[in-house]
């Protein structure tokens, strides 16, 4: 079932288009990664999908009975949040506010939903801790639990692993991929092409060349080749490390590797595997 369909979509600010001519569909259960260079309009596209911006032209069709307040969103962290005095429970339950409408307080069911999602993200033990005292990875899990309170169907994630160490990034990818297996549709912005190719079912590459298709098609496409090789040449030196690591861990079987040592050890050989795969597509 189609949840989201973009037709001749063009997005930007103040009616100035940043990226145009986008056509893609997202079906239930898909895992779509949006990749592209900095400034190519990834975040603008996501904000447009969320209806925070109006499209410059073209349209977005929402299907499958998806309502606007049923979309879970994990934005990039803001400076304000870094020293915000709020407990984990307060933040997670605030994900339910879309359901409240004008009702001022959360009801029992919403509070239960918050507890459930904290359980799901393995942060129940942190429920009374202060958000600003948590590690980057824990903070992201709190925000993910909050996004899950808002949705049962679709999650939009804006660079969820930015600023995380390789282990935390790997855990994050595993959590997201588990959610996808539970049937939640994922749309994720990523800088990390290796992980994108590992996890996603579909890739949307925006920039000077626009590509949309399954990841297999992407690896065969011109856009994919250029971007994948770029990433190997210089990306890995800068930020590729975190991405490669995490990409590999899940590649094994999608199972969560509980111990950090475990996943770290697996990284080295798999990285080579990833490289050789890249060679193949070229």
């Amino acid at each position: 079932m189609t949840l989201l369909c973009a037709q001749q979509l063009s997005v930007g600010y103040d009616s100035r288009s940043v990226v145009g001519n986008l056509n893609f569909t997202v079906n239930e259960g898909d895992y779509l990664c949006i990749v592209g260079e900095n400034g190519s309009g990834k975040t603008t596209l996501m904000r447009t999908l969320l209806r925070l911006h109006e499209p410059v032209s073209g349209k977005i069709i929402i299907g499958g009975g998806l309502k606007r307040n049923e979309i879970g969103y994990l934005p990039q962290q803001t400076v304000v949040q870094k020293d915000f005095p709020a407990s984990v429970r307060e933040i997670v339950v605030s994900g339910c506010q879309g359901r409240c409408g004008l009702r001022p307080f959360y009801n029992k069911e919403e509070k239960r939903l918050a507890e459930e999602n904290m359980e799901r993200m393995h942060i129940s033990s942190l429920a009374d801790r202060c958000y600003r005292d948590l590690s980057g990875g824990q903070q992201q899990r709190v925000l993910l639990a909050r996004a899950l309170c808002a949705t049962r169907k679709i999650l939009l994630l804006d660079e969820p692993v930015t600023g995380l160490d390789p282990m935390a990034a790997a855990e994050m990818y595993d959590l997201v991929s588990e959610l996808n297996k539970e049937g939640i549709t994922i749309i994720m912005i990523s800088h990390d092409i290796v992980a994108a190719v590992r996890y996603a079912t579909h890739i949307l590459h925006i920039g000077s060349k626009v590509f949309f298709g399954t990841k297999e098609e992407y690896l065969e496409s011109d856009a994919g080749k250029v971007f994948a090789s770029d990433d190997e040449d210089n990306g890995s030196a800068v930020s590729g490390e975190a991405g490669v690591d995490s990409g590999e861990v899940s590649a094994v079987s999608g199972k969560v590797s509980d111990s950090g040592r475990d996943s770290m050890d697996k990284n080295a050989p798999r990285q080579r595997e990833g490289d050789s795969e890249g060679e193949g597509t070229r």
């Binding site: 915000f84 994900g95 001022p104 939009l156």
Partner: protein, 278 residues
């Protein structure tokens, strides 16, 4: 000393001053947490200067009820400041600084050129640093303040969860279907109202202190939004209470005394926070 206090408390104007002072302290501290976290600590200062500018226009025009002019101008400025906080070319702090300094300068200029008063410096000084006006409140002003405070507190409690959501993460709240523009507008209007009310108590220059000190003190000690909010409200009311008492007993200016008590409370909270943190 206690006897002296009891004698003073028998005067209705002292009781009025205490009631109004504590209510204004309560209202300003409730929204202080949100303002500090949204990086609008200085909005109190900016808006109170706007109110000062508006008041001087009112004085020159010889309006019988200045509030009718001051309130709308301050509310509009608050809305403009908070609305443009997010995606504008002039960022929040710069916008506040501009409005604040500009309004102050124009206010003084207007007063200077058109003033009929003999004691200009005294007029300016009292509207900036707070006058003895809190000790000369009429009964109707006390009622006005009580009604406004009840509305502000009720609005805060009713919209508590929305205010939390809009403060913590506006983008998410917006994406989840909360009308963030509407709540930002609400916050701006309430803050403007509080500031105009508070000018009677502490004067323009010291309003910021009432808004930020209790919030910052509470943030040193507590870890959840609810506790921070509740504690900052209690602390603010206590500081206002003791500030007014001390000022009466010692004969010091009301506004500055309250702020001095707030600063002392902040120091204590910092120390407590450090000890608890370790």
């Amino acid at each position: 000393m206690i006897e002296k206090l009891i004698i003073y408390l028998q005067y209705p104007f002292v009781r009025n001053a205490l009631i109004v002072g504590m209510l204004i302290a309560l209202c300003s501290s409730l929204f202080g947490v949100t303002l500090v976290l949204k990086r609008f600590s200085f909005i109190g200062d900016g808006l109170s200067h706007v109110a000062f500018g508006a008041m001087s226009i009112g004085a020159v025009l010889n309006l019988t009820n200045e509030m009718l002019l001051v309130m709308p101008i301050t509310v509009i400025s608050a809305v403009l400041l908070l609305r443009t906080g997010q995606d504008t070319k002039i960022k929040g702090d710069a916008a506040i600084a501009m409005i604040s300094v500009g309004a102050l300068a124009f206010g003084y200029l207007i007063m200077n050129i058109f003033s009929t008063s003999a004691n200009l410096a005294g007029d300016v000084c009292s509207s900036l640093f707070g006058s003895v006006s809190i000790l000369t409140l009429t009964t109707s002003e006390v009622y006005l303040c009580v009604v406004m405070s009840v509305i502000v507190v009720a609005a805060f409690v009713f919209f508590y969860n929305k205010i939390f959501a809009v403060t913590f993460d506006e983008t998410f709240a917006n994406a989840a279907g909360t009308k963030t523009d509407r709540y930002n507008l609400l916050i701006a209007v309430i803050i403007a109202v509080i500031i105009v009310l508070a000018m009677n108590l502490v004067g323009s220059l010291l309003i910021s202190a009432l808004v930020i000190f209790p919030a910052l003190s509470a943030m040193r000690v507590f870890d959840s939004f609810k506790r921070v909010t509740v504690f900052s409200a209690i602390l603010s009311v206590l500081c206002a209470f003791f500030g007014i008492l001390i000022s009466i007993l010692a004969g010091t200016p009301v506004g500055s005394t309250i702020v001095a008590v707030d600063v002392a409370a902040f120091a204590v909270c910092c120390a407590v926070g450090r000890v608890v943190g370790e």
